[in-house]
């Protein structure tokens, strides 16, 4: 029998206004326990202004074998980058 409870992924916001970033995971039986464990494990030195916990089983993730299929289409579209374009000599602030 599994005695380890569910796995939860932890996202920490380091400063107000910033994006929540993945920090790691904890085991917990419910939301509240997950938040408390996340606080104890990942924010002991004032690292956080906010915390999100998400049950790992609820996360849909891409897999390594899908990598090419998912991300290849972006590789040959260099025209999405501003450096692709010729800016006339002397033009400023663009």
């Amino acid at each position: 029998m599994d005695t380890q409870l569910d796995l939860w992924e932890v996202f920490v916001q380091s400063k107000p206004g910033q994006s929540y970033k993945h920090a790691g995971s904890v085991h917990a039986s419910d939301k509240q326990m997950a938040l408390q464990n996340a606080r104890d494990v990942y924010t002991r030195r004032g690292e956080a202004s906010g915390l999100w916990v998400v049950r790992a089983a609820d996360i849909a993730a891409s897999s390594l074998s899908d990598h090419d299929m998912l991300f290849d289409p972006a590789n040959d579209k260099i025209y999405r980058h501003p450096t692709f374009y010729q800016v006339p000599a002397g033009a400023k602030n663009i």
Partner: protein, 300 residues
Amino acid sequence: MPTTTTDIFTEKIERDLAIEPRDPMPEEYRRHLMRQISQHAHSEVIGMQPEGNWITRAPSLRAKMILLAKIQDEGGHGLYLYSAAETLGISREEMIEQLQTGKARYSSVFNYPALTWADIGAIGWLVDGAAIVNQVMLQRTSYGPYARAMVRICKEESFHQRQGYEIMAKMAAGTPEQHEMAQDALNRWWAPALMMFGPSDAESLHSKAAFQWKIKRESNDALRQKFIDKTVQQTEVIGLKVPDPNLRFNAETGHYETSPLNWDEFHRVINGDGPCNRQRLEHHRKFHEEGRWVREACQC
């Protein structure tokens, strides 16, 4: 130690701390943001139409791929913004309904037609250029999800402006006819682009609250001036003329002076009577209806 909900909110705003969806916030702040963010989202989506009009007529495969990528980005910007608005408790359906019934607006600039290929250049350079100036400020807006969406959007916008400027530069340096098309597009888009910043906010009550809540950090006039100061030089470099006989550099202030804008036209266009308003909404409704079966299938 702040005790009431308003105290907590006010203190966060004073200390320049972002407000997150679950933080306490005054109802008027929430409503102000719902309106602003949803209208920003509508502008991204409706803004795809004048450019989409040229996809099948792009002059080269290169130009077509770039234009497609640019328009796809705008659709993405709409999605970032609709999601940010949803964190405030409004649903996507409500927002779409407000757009389609005319209760919510979108930027008046998208009610002008893109008549020639040079317009695609002018839109990228001027319309996206003006949007960038506004959006750079909004990266520091007080509502966290909105500010974060702006950071993402600003990163993507810079290609939009450059591709437009590249088109303008090429056409300005092309045949006399091409040069004339570029100048004509600039003539038609200049004033609508300047009006994107909105009327002077000196008297607007909305603006006053927006400043207090740090939703907004610079005035419409200041942002417009920034845009003018940047753009005049870019115009000269490619050999075009700013279509304003009163344009003058004031050496004392270090800024360009321009003619007053026609705000009657602005109000007329934003209230529904511009060259393409009806067409824009009809197009949106048509495709929204045609996609109904997909939404319904999703619920089975």
